[in-house]
Symmetry: C2
Subunit: 438 residues, 2 copies
């Protein structure tokens, strides 16, 4: 279990809910999100900043206060709902904007009565995907997960020979990215019972989640021009939680020889608030590997990346079945894990590798980190690992058991950053419920 | 070699170049493309229809003639440059539009002097990607290619057990899609000389093309709602040539266990004119498989698909080196192949399978068919196959040899449809030249 973290006290905001201990969105966080008002039949997307249990709605803010001239045009992008172009604005402008928003929301601000008209309760909106994702790439940088899964298939050599040399990854499907809150419809597909027998087509019986983080790209590079490891952090905008939903029975049958396809493309869900690079800065940490003598090729190596390329982020997965909900039982904690101890490659390394062949990324592109299982069996980030491939059912407080997900099951993923020299910030949640195939 | 095809004579157009025998764009074709005028510094994209060596420019057309009221609003989409929304308009409107354009361009049209002001020479424009591609999926439906490549890796079982049961495919990278005409920059990446030795990072030494066709999707389905095999043709908009550029040395090292990634994502090029479903209709043919007793699962099977799901399209690849160009030598014909005899799965089967898990496609999405090698060694669709994995160099008329592509090499792909009961139509070309890594 993750031990309770002492954290620095927030500087405080006049939005009182932001000052509550353990709140995901204190004034030190200020994540961006996109949503529509539940009352708005046009469902027009608006951009806002989460603070406590409220949202600082930027359309409303624009109408109640003058924008400082130095970022008038870039603020206009946010007001117009254009997150992607905003993400690509220079870091210096983003930092100025962050300072301004911090100033507006801080406890001491005398304009707070006027500014309060720009707040919306988070409960009054429906969250959307935060930006337009052009391409989505899923990496495999969680070394404990790769080892656990590899052992099931190749006990003697769980990791492929390239694993310690490059961030393994594959292109994912971007059309089926969904925000937290939407149902996940159980996919149907081909699977095969045992070798030699013909496959059949049915609803997946081995539906699983994968605990990942999402990385959002700030801006694009020119096709043909790699991003160097020393520049890669400039291309990193922020993070979210990512659930890489997986149909294990379909995956086992379809994946040879070109990798995962329909076993993944039915849904990938993300938490809707983008936690920015600036908010994550206090939680930077050194790259930690269990094999420090392993060589790294120069294009993936630099001093800054070694010193502070990783980020300490605590993760957890909870499960609530329909029966647990009916019985009034709280969600059951399945897993706790931590990002910097789970990921073999840093974000800068993912960016440098992805573009090393000249491939271009674009503002709003999404990378999945890969499943972030911890080093111990109980900290595994998927049911495939927790149930040992379906052989060891997990007991739930309702008396039910699970090897894989059943219809009506709700998967809840949380993430937060905390240590004694910084104010705790959270990612919000990624929550989706499995519903039956049509 | 593909034998000369007798073809029906075109009904003819007042655009004289469209009536030349062997022309790719007679009045029976009418493909859509997007481009900007070389003289236009803003490079604003315009949509037009290829006819002979000209383009019927739809912005100019709108200003010189009244649009019939029944498709005024959909024609406006084309004039505005919104190809994707146009692609999603109902087939019935598209057929009416096609009839109108045919009427405008036919020999007998008395308005041709007025209409001539809407023509642009193809030589006066720079072609762009024809539409916005949200997601790009590359299939592996060329059974001879899959067999040839499989034999190099697994001589006893070249095809994976799933090959005859489902269309194998993987998600591709859409950001690096480029139109014919742009250079392809040789990618750099990791590769390994021999087992056990550490990998190194260098410019690819085994750069290859893959001869494919691209399939463009007409409209989207709801996430969670599969497209049935009987409805799949409604979601098919048209086709183009596709060159799936591949770095074989990088691919061999990176692809385990999740499939191709950077070995492909540096560039995928397509021919810029979309040949519509209507233009391809005369070339429909029965699904031809060498293993007719192989069972097909019901979600991939229907009478129409068996009867006319395939399309007869002739393909060829030519190579021209810099030295050949200097010496005034014509491009050298490397390969001739044919689509319906090469592809194990039809377009309708690709669409039905891709969405069978509930995955949503969108207007403008692109599918690659997979490499369309013919059944004989000399009809192979890649250098990997033609040079037997680099062991059998190919002799060129310049006295040079090739196993894989060198800097300065130009790869030219052609495609056309022809038989004695229809007018020959062509796809135009997909031409790209390899340039050195930066």
């Amino acid at each position: 279990m993750i031990k309770e973290h002492r954290a620095k006290k927030s500087r405080g905001s006049w939005v009182e809910s932001a000052n509550v201990e353990g709140c995901d969105f204190p004034i030190e966080n200020l994540p961006f999100g996109k949503y529509y008002l539940t009352a708005d039949v046009s469902k027009a997307g608006r951009i806002g900043i989460a603070i406590g249990d409220q949202i600082l709605d930027l359309i409303s803010l624009a109408s109640c206060i003058d924008t400082p001239s130095e970022f008038e045009s870039t603020f206009a992008l946010l007001v117009q709902g254009d997150m992607n172009t905003w993400m690509a604005t220079p870091d210096s402008i983003q930092m100025q904007f962050r300072s301004w928003i911090t100033h507006l929301l801080e406890k001491e601000n005398t304009l707070h009565k006027q500014l309060a008209s720009a707040l919306l309760p988070q409960a009054s909106v429906v969250m959307l995907l935060p930006c337009k994702v052009g391409d989505y790439t899923d990496f495999y940088s969680g070394i404990h997960h790769a080892t656990n899964v590899g052992k099931m298939l190749r006990p003697d050599a769980p990791l492929s020979p390239n694993y310690h040399w490059l961030p393994v990854g594959y292109h994912g499907r971007s059309s089926s990215l969904i925000p937290s809150g939407l149902p996940v419809i159980r996919p149907r597909g081909q699977t095969r019972a045992s070798d030699g027998k013909p496959p059949y087509f049915q609803a997946s019986r081995r539906l699983d989640y994968e605990l990942e983080l999402g990385v959002l790209i700030a801006k694009g590079n020119q096709l043909g021009t790699p991003i160097s490891i020393t520049q890669a952090e400039e291309y990193f905008f922020g993070m979210c939680i990512l659930n890489d939903w997986s149909a294990r029975d379909m995956q086992a049958w379809e994946a040879a020889p070109l990798g995962p396809f329909l076993a993944k493309s039915f849904a990938t869900s993300i938490s809707p608030w983008i936690i920015t690079k600036a908010a994550l800065a206090p939680f930077r940490t050194a790259l930690q590997r269990s094999d420090p003598k392993q060589a790294t090729l120069p294009y993936l190596d630099c001093v800054n990346n070694q010193a502070s390329g990783a980020i300490q982020i605590y993760l957890e997965v909870l499960l609530q079945t329909k029966e647990m909900q009916t019985a009034g039982l709280a969600p059951y904690l399945l897993t706790q894990s931590e990002y910097s101890g789970a990921a073999y490659w840093t974000i800068a390394q993912l960016i440098a590798h992805h573009t090393s062949n000249g491939c271009n990324v674009m503002a709003g592109d999404l990378f999945g980190t890969g499943t972030l299982s911890g080093p111990t069996p109980e900290s595994a980030g998927s049911l495939l690992e927790l149930s040992q491939g379906g052989k060891a059912p997990i007991s739930l407080p309702s008396g039910q058991t699970r090897t894989f997900l059943e219809d009506g099951d709700t998967v809840i993923m949380n993430a937060f950053c905390a240590h004694e020299n910084a104010v705790r910030i959270g990612f919000g949640q990624c929550i989706n419920t499995v519903v039956a195939s049509h």
